[in-house]
Amino acid sequence: MSRRRRPPRTPWVLLPFAVAAVAFIALPLVGLLQRAPWSDLGDLVTEPVVTDALRLSIVSAFAATGISVLVGVPLAWVLARTSFRGRSLVRALVTLPIFLPPVVGGASLLFAFGRRGLVGEPVYEATGLLLPFSIWGVIAANTFVAMPFLIITVESGLRAADDRYEDAAATLGAGRWTVFRRITLPNAMPAVLAGALLCWARALGEFGATVTFAGNLQGRTQTMPLAVFLALESNREAAIALSLVLIAVSLAVLVPLRDRWLR
């Protein structure tokens, strides 16, 4: 069905505010571009400190997104479709990392999964596995801060979906797993993709929890945001180059997807 859009009746008083919003976001980017060392850029972005950080950032952001989808979608389903005592408590708990300062998140991770942590200590003694100061620590920190974005997006997508289609599938002989796989999940797919995108973006930019929990070791735990922060102290041009790379990667993912899934 085609809907004809009428021309908008713009309330003009909104315009200066809208322009101010755009300017506030655009100006820092312009500042960055204007200071960019364009002639040395090629050399700067191929330095190991940049390529190591970029690889680590991309790998850990995708890994965190993958883990979030794997466990976050089932949790979103439980929150959207079942009712049990303490559901609102669980919902508050899983959205907490959005409101928590990431540094606090990183410290909490340390107390749980660190070498002396609640879970970390017995695991380390039994297997020798250690999360902090490894890429696993980076992924854990990313997942902790980014997964809530996926969960709340998918949960609201599931709530908005018409669950009568699931009834129809059940009357056709589909068991619960088949209903989920062939009806619920495809119907919620736009929300899952939007949630995954938000989650990925948040993981890519993660700083506080990562530096607290995983440390800042080049080639092992130093992601792009950490490298930028460090370079700002020592080599401003490298910091700008790193930032430009990060912006380019974000835009490359966001621009084709933004209009389709984030509305």
Binding site: R164, A169, A170, T171, L172, A174
Partner: protein
Amino acid sequence: MSGLDADVGLHLGDLDLRVTLEAGTGETVAVLGPNGAGKTTAVRSLAGLQPIDHGRISLDGAVLDDPATETFVAPEHRPIGVVFQDHLLFPRMSALDNVAFGLRARGDDRRRADEQARSWLDRFGLGDHADARPAALSGGQSQRVALARALATDPQLLLLDEPLSALDATTRTHVRAELRHHLSSFDGVRVLVTHDPIDALVLADRLVIVEHGRVTQTGTPAEVTARPATPYVADLVGINLLYGSLAADDTVHLDTGATLTVAGGEAPTGDVAVAIRPRAIALYRERPAGSPRNTWSAPIADLEADRDRFRVTLGGPVPVTAEITAASVQGLGLEPGQELWASVKAVDIDVYEA
């Protein structure tokens, strides 16, 4: 016993439902009632989507739901096909995949399921639309896909929940006639839920009237219309059913000798029944200007007050009852014996194969 034997008792919010429903194999029973009477909830409990609180549901001797013995068969294990209100075709699947869904869910491999689904679509005249998404189908086509999908799993009971309510008035008549035709080819138990008396009168062998969660009357359409038990049922009586013969030029020659022009539809030429709602008939003192094709003059045979409305029964060659407001009775200054002009639009006349 063979067929459906259901005693449905449940509380859901404000609804207190206590309905018994029996339907034999090869029979179509219409559950007819106003919106909010609990009809859809009753269908959901038969399908296993809403467990009952008390009572018992059995189909062909097998118990499906009995709280007293804690028996409950899950919807996916009941031999029941459902045509839902709005049809609920899976929007991301083709017509073929919709029909094949139940076959695959019940264990057929893909090739076999597709083959069978295709033959169902062919049978319903949808062979050319196998790859179409539901959004690309017309209301009538979507209804046929929904019916094919429900029948493909070879159910013993077919439930139809307001199958025609998603359609606009003009297609409704066509699709209703089609549905009547296709229902007769299914030999299990058929239960139709509707709030539209025409659906019920045209499609059902027996009516079960449900109001406020209780059965208020049951019987054949003829029995119910002859002796309406409640004011709601009395409204059903008002539907004018006339018999005649449909010619190729969309005119119906009534057995009484008069002729009506109809909008044309799926009904084949030959013997037909014609349904006209009392409110679709307009009355005038003088011959109306720019008059619709179906305009005739007739004497008032009877005039009867029914709450805030009047039912005006007309004599003459088109014996129908019109329903008008008390205000228009005063405006027209009506009294029995008086000659009036009556008119009805061709699109307001439903035609069925008799």
